[in-house]
Symmetry: none
Subunit: 216 residues, 4 copies
Amino acid sequence: MKPKIAKPAKKYPRDSAATKARILDAARTEFAKSGLRGARTASIATRSDANKRMIYEYFGNKEGLFEAVLEDAWRDIREAEQRLHLADLEPVEAMRTLTRFTWDYYVKNPFFIALVNSENLHRAVHLKKIKDRVGEMQSHMIDMIAAILTRGVASGAIRQGIGPTQLAITIAGINYYYLSNRHTGSVVYGYDLMSAEARAKRLAFNIETIDRLLRP
Amino acid sequence: MKPKIAKPAKKYPRDSAATKARILDAARTEFAKSGLRGARTASIATRSDANKRMIYEYFGNKEGLFEAVLEDAWRDIREAEQRLHLADLEPVEAMRTLTRFTWDYYVKNPFFIALVNSENLHRAVHLKKIKDRVGEMQSHMIDMIAAILTRGVASGAIRQGIGPTQLAITIAGINYYYLSNRHTGSVVYGYDLMSAEARAKRLAFNIETIDRLLRP
Amino acid sequence: MKPKIAKPAKKYPRDSAATKARILDAARTEFAKSGLRGARTASIATRSDANKRMIYEYFGNKEGLFEAVLEDAWRDIREAEQRLHLADLEPVEAMRTLTRFTWDYYVKNPFFIALVNSENLHRAVHLKKIKDRVGEMQSHMIDMIAAILTRGVASGAIRQGIGPTQLAITIAGINYYYLSNRHTGSVVYGYDLMSAEARAKRLAFNIETIDRLLRP
Amino acid sequence: MKPKIAKPAKKYPRDSAATKARILDAARTEFAKSGLRGARTASIATRSDANKRMIYEYFGNKEGLFEAVLEDAWRDIREAEQRLHLADLEPVEAMRTLTRFTWDYYVKNPFFIALVNSENLHRAVHLKKIKDRVGEMQSHMIDMIAAILTRGVASGAIRQGIGPTQLAITIAGINYYYLSNRHTGSVVYGYDLMSAEARAKRLAFNIETIDRLLRP
DNA sequence: CATGAATGAGAATTCATTCAT
DNA sequence: TATGAATGAATTCTCATTCAT
C-alpha cells in the first residue's frame, strides 16, 4: 500500500572504531550541553549518525559513555599542556604561557568545564573509576610546574615557598571561574562577559595576578 | 484489609508561609545535590513534609521553584556580605575579610556553588527572569568594593588601576574553583582537598594571592 | 515580615441562594466551554466569586453540579417556548415562529447545545436522574405541537399524518446541527458559518424546509 | 518473590504500520466513548495491544493522536460517499440514496458523531491543522451534490434555487441530530429512539423531508 | 555490525475532594 | 457560611534500555 521510498545510501561503512569515535564526539557535546542527567541517549545516537544500540554495544550504558567522555577530555587537556614544552621556557614566561593556554583551552573547548562541573555534581564517582590514569596525568603536570618553580627560585625570578599544586589550582581557578560562570555573570553584571574586549581584559588581569603571585 | 499504620501526628499547622519556606529549604538541598534535571519533586515534597501538590500551588512548577531557590540564594550571600560592614575596615583588611568570608560562605553553604553551576549549565535562563533584582544586589557589592579600592589608593595601601569587577571575580574565583571542584580535585590530586589542613592552607594561599594583587 | 495587605472588602454577603445562583451560572459557562470532564472546579469557584468548598456544600460534587446545570438549562428553553404562546397563532405561522425561536435560542444560548452534547457523550446518565421533570416539560411541548398540527390539518393548512415528535425533532435538528457544528463546518466549508449573512441564509432555508414539510 | 504469571505469547509481529493502525483503531473507540479529555492513553495502549510509549512515538501526544483519528474518520465517510456513485443515479433517487447512506453510516459508525462533537467542543482547533485535506474532500462532496441538483433542475425533477451546501447540511443535520441526541432524546421522550421501529420511522420521515425539499 | 520496534519504570503535573480554622 | 490549605489518586509524558530482525 505505502510505496517504499528508497532510503538514502548509508553514510558510514561498518567501521567500529569510527562509529565509536563519532559516538564519543556526539556524547561530549550532549553531556556538555545538558549534563549527565539531562543528556539524551536518543540525541547522542542521532548526532552521531549511529543508533542507540551501538552506544550500549560500545560503552555499556549512559554512565559508561560519560566515563569515556570524561577520560578523553582529561587526556586531551593534559596532552595539550605537554605540547607547550614549558620546560624550554624561562620560568615566569612559562607560567604566563600556561595561564594563557588554560584560558584559551577553556574558551575553545567549553565542554571541558561543563563536564567537570557535571562530574563534581556527581561527587566524582565516574572519575574515581579512572583515577589511576587521570591521577598520573595530573602528577605529570604538577611535577612540571614544580620543576619550573625550582628553576625560577634558583634564578631569583620567582619567590620561594610557592606550592606547585596551589599555584596550579590558582591558575586554573582564575580562568575557569570566569568562563564557567559566564552566563550568570553576564546577567548579574549586566554586560557580555564573552565580548572580545571583556575577554582580553580578563586574560590580562589573570596574567597580572599570576605575575604578582610569583614575584619575589 | 490493609493494616492501617497510625500516621505520625501532623507536624505542622496550616501555615502557608511556613509551608512555602519548608519547600524552599528542601528544594535548595535537593537542587544542590542533584541539579535541576536530577532533582525530584517527590523528594522535595517528602523532605519538606509537604505535598507535591503544594509545590505547584506555590511555585507553579519545578522551574519556578528553582528560580525561587536561586533568587533566595543570591539574596542570602549578598545580604551576608552587607553584614560584614567592610566600609568600617582598613582597605586591605577589608579585602582579606571579604576573601575569608567568601571562602567560609562557600564552605558552609555548598548549595550556592551547586546552584550557580546548575544555572550556568542552563545558560542562566532562570536568573535572567530575575535579573533586575540580582543585578541590583551585585551592583551594591561592586560599588562597595570600588569604594574600598578608592580609599586604599588614597591611603597608598593599594595600587592604582585595579578594576573592582575584576577583583571581585578573582576573589570569588580562587575560592569557588577549589570548592566547586573538590571532588574531582581530590581524585586527581590523590588527597582530600577538604581536610582541615588542606582547607587552611588553601585559604592562606588565597589571602596571599589577594594581598599581592593589591600591593602597590 | 511580609506586610499584610488589607484585602478588598468581601464582594458578596452571606446569602446562600445568591451564592448558589452564581455558582450555577459559572458552572454553566465552564461546562459549556470545556465539557463535564474538562471543566475545572477551581475555575468554577473563581468565576463565581465563591470557593470550591461551596460547590460541595450546595451540589455535593462536580456531577451533582452538572445535573443542576442541565436541569436548569432544560427548564429555561422549555419555559421560553411556553412564552411564545404558539396556541394563539395561525398553525403554519406557529411552526415558523417555533423554528425561528429555536434558532435564536441556540444562537443566543450556545451553552445549551454544548451541555446536551456533553450529556450525550455521557449516555444521558445525569438526565436520567431527573427524567421525570424533564420528561414532563418535553411532553408539554409535544402536546402543544400536536395541538397545532391538529388545528392545521382541520383548517387544511397542514397535511395529515405528521408525527409531532418527528416534527419537533426535525425543527430542532436543522437548527441544532448547523450551530453545533459551526466550528468544524467553518473549517471544512472554508467560510464563516456564523457571519450575519450566512446565519440569515440558513434560517431562511430552515423555515422553507419546515414550510414544505407541512404543506399538504 | 512475586509469582510470575506466564504472559500470553506476543500477539503481533514487529510491524510499525500495523501497530500504528491498531493504536488508531483503539483511539477512535476511546475518543468516541470519552471525548478528547476523558480518553485515557493507558486505555488506548491496552486496547491496541501496544504500549503507551508507542503512542508518543507515532503520534507525538494525545492531541496528535486525536488529529490523526479525526482525519482518518473524515476521510472514511467522504470516501464511502464516493463509492455510492450518485452521479449514476436519477437525481431525486440520488438524494434519497445519500440520505439513506448518511443515516446508515452514522448508525454503523457512531464514533463519527462523537468525534465531531468533541472537535466542536474544542472549537475545531485540530481540524484546522488539516483543513486543506478535509476542505478538499468536502468540496468534492458539494460539487457532486451541485451536479446532481443541476441535472435534476434540467429534467424538471427538482426545483430551482436550492444551494448545494444548504442541502448537504440539511441532509446531514436531520440524520445527525437524532442520532447524536439518542441518549437524551430517549430519556426526555420516554422511549428508545434506537429501537428498530423507531429508527425505521425516523429514516422514512427524513427521506420524506428531503423529497419535499427538492420537489418543484 | 546495524537498525528500528518495543518496553517498563518512573517523572512531572493535574484535579477533585476534604480538612482545619 | 466561608476560606485557604492540604491531600492522594490519577494522568500525561519521558527515557534508558532491551529485543527481534
